[in-house]
Each structure stands twice: as structure tokens, then as C-alpha cells.
């Protein structure tokens, strides 16, 4: 152990290595609700890909488990370390290396937060559009989890916005994948294999992200619906209309009540309408000119009214922003309400009514509740699960995931499996696929040091 400490200290400098009790508790966990914090043996803060490579080489030699950490804002426990293992924190690798307006890309280090990247691109008229609720999240974390967020309905998820990587293999090789290019057909797409692999295949040390033009004019339309299913029927019609909303969210009445209450939202919706409403649809539009935006808003409003909205509210700048922020903070609100677990299943958009009805009735049967909101345009359902009994909750989660998969969906749309959801995945997924993924994992990480317990059980990896 002393030997490993010395080797790591040699690589990153002794002031960038902490061991044992000196490691702050913040590094023992991320924001997952259900996985217990674990005390790592080592915390290294490298400054370069070369340092990451050397750390991984030693870890492979020593068969020491390695957990990569961005901002620690993950919700599935992919950044919960292995007890006694090495945490590689990217907090010092947080620079914007280049904002390239000609190619509409930024080249960044993985530790940069979305807020910092947004500030760095503000003057260029361009923006990285992946926008998970948590703007303190890091680009590296976005890569790991294939992060999504509200704007994915128009701009895609991390996968669609990460064009290239510099990445370090478990055995210490530094490779470059993709580039400042929108397309490539030369060999396997290693970029897309690493995106969403939750630190189990390779560690990204540089990320080339796509930037999109910032459109100056935007507006938010809020529509309460008496019937949940109507919301779900409305969504594909809005998306097929040729309008290109950048946000299409639903919020169920219980979650909206909690958001209004805890975050003092003033939406101007009369009590009578609120009481008759099962769910809300939030549609945000943007366009090049105010005239086009006004037309789009009118068209969207008419369409939602036709599709059964009780009323349609065009929110002004301030209250629109507050609603979107409240929606982004829904996790914290539901956590404060005592949510016992979190689901972010994705299903085909058209299967959302069936899935939500099924999930809620499974929760009721288990003596619990499932409430939430989600990215309606993407079929990505966020549910907070309230169910105190551990075994019942586990069964309920399994049943809800199985239902999502039966409907053609998946356990996670954007949070990733992490340590929290991997056991469900291994139980429910086709074993032929899991075996194939295990072989792929071995082709990257022969000693199985990278994030054991995530995707595969620790003993497999």
C-alpha cells in the first residue's frame, strides 16, 4: 500500500494525492439515493492525460479498482467508489482548450462544468446544448452517463453532441477518437462506445463537443390537461407538426403542486382549472425572429387547445424561467419529500400512457406511490418512488423496469445504470447481450479495474 501511495504521489504530486482518512466524505458518493457511500483508498487529482495514463497503468498492475469522478452530481451511483479503490477526480482538468466557431465545436477537459462552458461560449453566439437539470455537472460526467436533459428533444443527448474524445485505456494507452467532424466512416465508432459507458471502458481526458447557434427569441407555453393520456397523445402531434420545440415536458399534478408550493411559482392558473387537471404540458419554442416566434407560439397554442388542453398560458420571461428552473430542481423537491428511489426509464413516446398507468398501479399495489415529470418528447419518464419497505421497493422497481423493457424501452434514458441500477439490468437484460458487453469490456480493460460494480457485478469485471 505504501508503495502504491508513493507511485501515485510521483505521478500527480503529493499535494494532489489524498489517502485514507484524509479523503473528504464528498468523494465517497454522488447524488444517488440508494447506494451507500464508500470510502476510497486513494484520491488522485491529475492534471493531464499522461498523468491519467500513468495512474491507470499502476492501477492495472495492482488490480486496483478505479472510479472516475466529475462533479459527483450523478443520480445512479456511477461515481460511488469501491472501498479502498482509487478515485480519479477531474477537478483540475477543467479548462476550455478551444472554442472553434468555424467548425462549431469546443474542445474541453472533462472536469469543466456546464455553467463554465456556457460562460466560455456566450460571446460566440454558439452553445453546447446538452442541458441536464444540474448545471454544475461536468462534461466528463455527461460523456460517462450519456446525459440528456430538457433540450434533448431538439438537440439530442450527449451522444449526439460529443464528436470526439481523447481517452485513456485501462492499460495506459492514450487514444484519440472522432474529431471536429460531423461524420466519419472509418473503423468502429469508439467515441460512441465510450459515451455512456460510465467509466467502465476508458477515461475521457479531452472532449470535442458540438456547438449550436443560440436563437435569440424564445417563449414557453404551459397547458393543463384534465386527462393524463391526452398529454401523451398531444406530444407526437406537436412533434409531427413541423414546429421544432426545444423543450417538451410533462409534469403530473402532484409534482406540480410540490413545485409550486416549495418554489413559490406564480403561474396564474385559477384554482378551478388546477383542481381539474391531471397533468401539465410545457412546450418551449425558439426562433430566429420575434415574428416567427409569435407565429409558432400561436400555432402551438391552437394545436394544444385542439388536442384537449383546458387552457393555454404563454408564460412571460421571468415566470417561464422560474418554471423551467423548478422543473430542473424537481429531483431536489422530490428528494426533500422523502422519495425512496428514482426512476428515469425511457419508453417509446407512444407507450408513455401505458407505461405510466402500469407503473402507478404497480406502485399502488406495493403500497407506495410513483409521481413525477419527464421529457415527454423523448419518452423519458422520471418517477420518484415512495415505498419504505426495502424488499417491496426492490420488487416494485424490478416490475417497473420489466414493464418499460416489455414496452420496448430501457431502464435508463439518461442517468445511466451506475451501481444502483446495474443489478436490475443484469437481471432483466438478454444474457447474450450482457455476455457480448462483458467481452467488449475485457477488450478495453483486461484487468477489470474500471468501475467494477457498474454495468457488471464486481466479480465479473
Amino acid at each position: 500500500m505504501g508503495d502504491i501511495t508513493a507511485q501515485f504521489a510521483d505521478i500527480v504530486g503529493s499535494h494532489n494525492l489524498l489517502t485514507g482518512d484524509a479523503i473528504p466524505e464528498d468523494y465517497w458518493h454522488d447524488e444517488v439515493l440508494t447506494t451507500a457511500p464508500q470510502k476510497p483508498g486513494y484520491l488522485a487529482r491529475p492534471a493531464s492525460a499522461e498523468e491519467v495514463a500513468q495512474l491507470l497503468k499502476v492501477a492495472t498492475e495492482q488490480q486496483l479498482p478505479v472510479t472516475a469522478r466529475g462533479s459527483g452530481s450523478g443520480l445512479s451511483g456511477a461515481a460511488v467508489p469501491v472501498e479502498g479503490g482509487l478515485v480519479i477526480s477531474f477537478e483540475r482538468m477543467n479548462k476550455v482548450l478551444e472554442v472553434d466557431t468555424t467548425n462549431q465545436v469546443a474542445v474541453v477537459q472533462p472536469g469543466i462544468t456546464l455553467l463554465e462552458l456556457d460562460a466560455a461560449t456566450a460571446d460566440t453566439g454558439l452553445r453546447y446544448m446538452v442541458h441536464p437539470g444540474e448545471l454544475s455537472s461536468s462534461v466528463g460526467g455527461n460523456v460517462g452517463t450519456n446525459a440528456g436533459g430538457m433540450r434533448a428533444v431538439k438537440y439530442g443527448v450527449a451522444r449526439h453532441n460529443v464528436l470526439g474524445l481523447q481517452a485513456v485505456l485501462a492499460t495506459g494507452e492514450i487514444i484519440r477518437t472522432g474529431g471536429k467532424i460531423a461524420k466519419v466512416s472509418a473503423g468502429y465508432d469508439l467515441t460512441q462506445l465510450i459515451v455512456g459507458s460510465e467509466g467502465t471502458l476508458a477515461l475521457a481526458t479531452e472532449v470535442i463537443v458540438k456547438l449550436h447557434p443560440r436563437l435569440d427569441h424564445s417563449a414557453t407555453v404551459l397547458a393543463p390537461f384534465a386527462d393524463f393520456d391526452q398529454v401523451m397523445v398531444a406530444v407526437p402531434k406537436i412533434l409531427a407538426s413541423g414546429l421544432i420545440p426545444y423543450i417538451v415536458e410533462y409534469i403530473d399534478n402532484m409534482t406540480m403542486a410540490a413545485l409550486v408550493h416549495t418554489q413559490n411559482l406564480e403561474l396564474g392558473i385559477p384554482d378551478k382549472i388546477r383542481d381539474n387537471c391531471q397533468a401539465y404540458l410545457v412546450v418551449a419554442l425558439e426562433n430566429l425572429t420575434p415574428e416567427r416566434l409569435d407565429e409558432d407560439v400561436e400555432k402551438a397554442g391552437e394545436l394544444m387547445a385542439e388536442l384537449g388542453a383546458i387552457d393555454v398560458y404563454v408564460l412571460e420571461g421571468g415566470s417561464a424561467r422560474k418554471l423551467i428552473e423548478a422543473r430542473e430542481n424537481a429531483f431536489w423537491t422530490l428528494k426533500a419529500m422523502g422519495a425512496d428511489d428514482l426512476i428515469d426509464t425511457v419508453v417509446p413516446r407512444g407507450a408513455m400512457p401505458k407505461f405510466l398507468a402500469g407503473a402507478r398501479s404497480l406502485a399502488t399495489e406495493a403500497g407506495g406511490a410513483a409521481v413525477g415529470c419527464g421529457h415527454a418528447g423523448d419518452g423519458n419518464v422520471h418517477l420518484a418512488i415512495f415505498c419504505k419497505d426495502h424488499d417491496k421497493k426492490k420488487k416494485l422497481m424490478t416490475d417497473i423496469f420489466a414493464l418499460a423493457m416489455e414496452l420496448g424501452g430501457a431502464i435508463s434514458g439518461e442517468h445511466g445504470l451506475g451501481r444502483a441500477k446495474s443489478p436490475y439490468y443484469l437481471k432483466l437484460e438478454d444474457p447474450a447481450k450482457v455476455d457480448l458487453m462483458r467481452r467488449i469490456k475485457q477488450s478495453f480493460d483486461p484487468a477489470g479495474i474500471l468501475n467494477p460494480g457498474v454495468l457488471f457485478a464486481a466479480r465479473d469485471a
Copy 2:
């Protein structure tokens, strides 16, 4: 051999199996210019994933090389079989299984052509937007090569439009990846690993493709530029303007002359302008209403004039269609002119002037020429290489590919490596990456039966 024939006949029926001399020469090659046709030993035409699985199981047992074939319209030789090997042709698996307007996807078999799929979706107001020049190409071929085409600048390449697969592994397992879902973060993205793998990892037997709304109103703007570099400088500015063109192509003056001459284009450009023009920019726009389209066209025209266009022509329906068709047929025109080889390198958009100047001067030094057109919005340069001397041409190709890679690009943007470009790739690519890809390949195809000679040299696979 007799035994293998009997086994294959048992699987697909004897009328769907041809052997030896009975196999028509059409199946010996695709449209690659440089790879010699090869006579396969067996041609099987399966009707289902189960039949494909059984064929592959036998092939793995017998260590028989397998080449998958869609329409045979590929340009890199990925569908040129191995002599004596098995060709699996998907011509009987050519059905649209479902057009799902709620989820905006179609589920198709790989043998369907783009023309057939377009017809099957015409009434829905939706369309599969991947549009390589050749509309007789198959969706399966699109998956294999990660096909692009002119509309990729707005709608992305095959990778961005393939949401899920049913695929058969070399060892006969049938797996399903992705789904009718826009996002997923649960395990490695096998869909994206198989897309672009040119039949070397697994064979797709069902493809879920994304559909987009068809916009009714479109127009094409053609602008001649005196100076090639001006075209390249104009492109990023047009893309950053917030206009969202669905086609942004350049055509150099030699290629335009050939297209006008061989395809009787009437573009209405005076001789004087034509003589002073080094390259043309073609920008196609579409929008929801004719009013918005007119505004966009005006804005695009003004922008191109500001950016140095000698003049700007808004082409009417008929002549616009003819120009786009001529551009799509550029390969055939250049082939008829005696092109000796074909390049479809991709570079960062901003590196196109440097790349094109470099490629042309390398061609001149080699006593040849490099002319062409390309997807300017994507940095995807199509060059026809004229150079009769085989060794000089090989060196020229190598030098041009090396230049593209130095500039941060790749050997192929959309055609794939196939048998024709794989040797260049293996020579120029980082060996650590090639080794990693070889291990990934082995995790899918332990016996190395799937398309040996593509990506890896036959002896490696």
C-alpha cells in the same frame, strides 16, 4: 464442400442457394473502382433472422468467410466477397414491417431500398432522411457504411437515424439493440457500434429508423464564386446564421462543366461568369410555409453575396431538381470520364481549403488530377483521382489520406473503408486503436468469418 452446400440448402431452401458457377457475376462485386471482383463459393438468400443465424453458425463452424450484401451499390468494396466464401444477400428481406407515426420511426428489413422506403412513408408526412446519391441503396447497406449524403448537414448520417437493430452475431445469437427510443443510457451502445462496421461485427436483420416531418416548401440557391477559398469561408457563416439548410454542397468548376455537359443542365449562368468561377455553392432550404421559405432564401442570397458570390441564382423546381440529381450522379459522370480512384475523406469544415489545395497539389506532383464536389457543410470531400500509374496512384492516395488525418479528419466520411481503403487505414491509423478494434472484433466474431479483408487484413481477422 458438399456437406456445406447441403447444410445451407437446408436452411434457406435449395432455390435460395446458388453455388459456384451458378452465381451471377453481379454478386462478385459492388461499385468500387479498384477492387477486383471475387467469385464467391455460395450465395444464400435468407428470409428471416433465424435463417441468417443458422447460416452464420455453420460458417463459424466451417471457418467460412461471409460477406453481407444489400444492393451492391457501395463504393469501397465492402460487399466484394472473399473467393470461395459465402455471400448473404438480403434481397428477400426487403419489407417495411411497420411505419409508426406516433413514435416517428419505421421498422424495416435490411434489404429494402431507399426508394421503396420513401414510397412506403410518402402518405404519412414523414421521411427517412438519409439520402446518399444512390436511391437503390439498401437500408442495410446504409447501416453497414454509416451512409451520409447531401441531407446529412441537417438530418445527420445513418448513425443519427438508426435507433435500433435486430442483429445476428457470427456465432448465431440474435440480439436486439436500441429501440423506438431517441435516447438510452443502459449498457454499451451496440447499435452505434454495429452501424458503420461494414459487416465485420454482426449482420443487421431489422432496422428501426427515425422519420422526420416532410417540409412542403423548398428552394435551391446556386452561387458561383471566383475563388475556391471563399466558398469554404462562406459555409460556416451560413451554418452559424441560424438558417438551417438541408443541403450545402460545393462543386468545383471542372466537375460542374462535366455535369452540365453530360447531363444537359440549364442553369442560366452567363459564359462570362462561368469562366471566372472556380467553384459553386449549392444551398437548399426548406420551411413550413412559403413565406418563411422566401425570407430564408432572400437571407441566404444576401449572405452569399456579402461573402463574395459573383452572383446568386434561385433555381426553379425543375432545374433545381436536375442540378441535385446531376450532383448525385457525379460519381457516374466522373467514372465515365475515366477516374482511377475515389476519395471521400472528411476533414473539419474549416480545414477544407487547406485540404483541397494540398490534395490538388499532391495530385499535380504525381502527374495526375483530383477534381470533385462534396458535402461542404460536413467537410466531406469527394474527389475523383485521375492517375494511371498504379504505384504513383497508391502513393498519392496515401499522401492525401495522411493529409486529411493530419488536419484532424478521416479517410472516409460516408463510403466506409471496405476492401479498397482498409490497407491505407491500417498503414495510417494509430496501432493502439487498431489493436483495440481488433479485440472488439474478436468479441463479436471469434472465428473472424465476417468480411475478412475489410477494416483488418484477412489474416488478422
